[in-house]
Point group: C2
Chain length 229, copies 2
């Protein structure tokens, strides 16, 4: 049995902070805690979601299969983020698949609890709305990057993003390690192209690598590259 939502620190980072004590109690009573192994799905594109997932630990990739057979990773969601909110709010099937990038601990909150609060507590609804507005802005920015920047720039940006959002370990490697394939699915390119560019970055001294792990060596140059020299 997981701990009580009322005491959960994770809540500070998402819209659940706008809930009243009673509402939180209802969430706590109806939630179930799950462990998801690396590589396993929380849900898949097209699934009917019966609730949302609040991430306590680990990272999930939200991706969509394109008609060319390749996955495009649209977002990485980690501690504190609520996954599946969009589908529940819109009362639609999942538009994206959510797959664990590493081992995860999540709380599943049934949609009834969420919907009930959405109808009763305008502050909560407004908070969810603000979060979604933020996600939408980010998505718009991704559209611009995807369509206007080169693969090289997008990979450089991805590394900077990983550093800013997940930090580095004690040895200066990015704390979140993605496979080369995942990286290529984030930036929307062929795996071989991503590998080639990563090698090039390494040769130029922008990054250092060790197996899958990547560390940023020259952040300033990476930023310049993203901006276009």
């Amino acid at each position: 049995m997981g701990s009580r939502c009322e005491n959960c620190i994770v809540r500070q980072f998402n819209s659940l902070r706008a809930m009243s004590k009673e509402e939180l109690k209802a969430v706590s009573d109806s939630k179930t805690t799950k462990t998801i192994r690396k590589g396993e799905p929380l849900f898949e594109e097209g699934d009917k979601l019966n609730g949302v997932y609040c991430v306590r630990n680990g990272v999930s990739k939200l991706s969509k299969l394109s008609s060319n057979g390749k996955d495009q990773i649209v977002k990485l969601a980690s501690t504190g983020e609520v996954i599946g909110q969009r589908s529940v709010v819109a009362q639609e099937c999942a538009n994206l698949s959510a797959i664990a990038v590493n081992d995860m601990e999540v709380c599943f909150i049934p949609k009834e609890t969420i919907n009930h609060t959405l109808q009763k507590n305008p502050n909560f609804t407004l908070e969810v709305l603000r979060h979604m507005a933020h996600d939408l802005k980010e998505a718009d920015d991704v559209i611009v990057n995807m369509s206007q920047k080169t693969v090289k720039q997008r990979i450089a940006e991805a590394f900077l993003y990983l550093k800013n959002n997940f930090g580095e370990d004690e040895n200066g490697f990015l704390a979140l390690t993605l496979s080369r394939e995942d990286i290529s699915n984030v930036v929307g390119t062929a795996t071989e192209s991503a590998i080639r560019i990563i090698s090039e970055f390494k040769k130029k001294g922008l990054i250092h690598t060790s197996g899958k792990k990547v560390g940023i060596k020259n952040e300033r140059k990476l930023v310049e590259l993203v901006e276009g020299f």
Copy 2:
């Protein structure tokens, strides 16, 4: 003086339909009607918005300047859509520029009126939330298309989108005429590339053109092209 919001048909298509009679009256009393000429901006990226724009007539392109100096059109908003909502909800400066694609008639609704209703009427907030959830899904889909489809596929898709969302005129041309440059900014490519592909489509009998105007001739083949043959 524009007509009363209470009687405005446009309202049926957006979140304003969740407003009470009194709230609508407040909107009606505080709104101002504006005419925007083709090519003129409603607002520009970075502007602080003092309200939202409800489109009565015409179409606006929502775009963002990339660091490479090119504009990326992220969305086309037409009759019934509310522009600027995201920025007002998130209390941020505009992330996108809104420029009239043809002559527009819009109602400007001050943000105070919107914010007041957002805090008082959960149904309205929920309705706005649902709309934003829908926009987010669309944005995610655009990300996938931009990163996984070829320019040819994206142009074909753009034409189908224009037909489905804006219809055709009596001569079988797309009702919304975009310049070649706008088309290239929608699909995220160089204007010359867009023109070349449009010529190719014409040669292959997929479309017919007359000046800027484009008409769809073989919809099935266009769909096949988008799906990847």
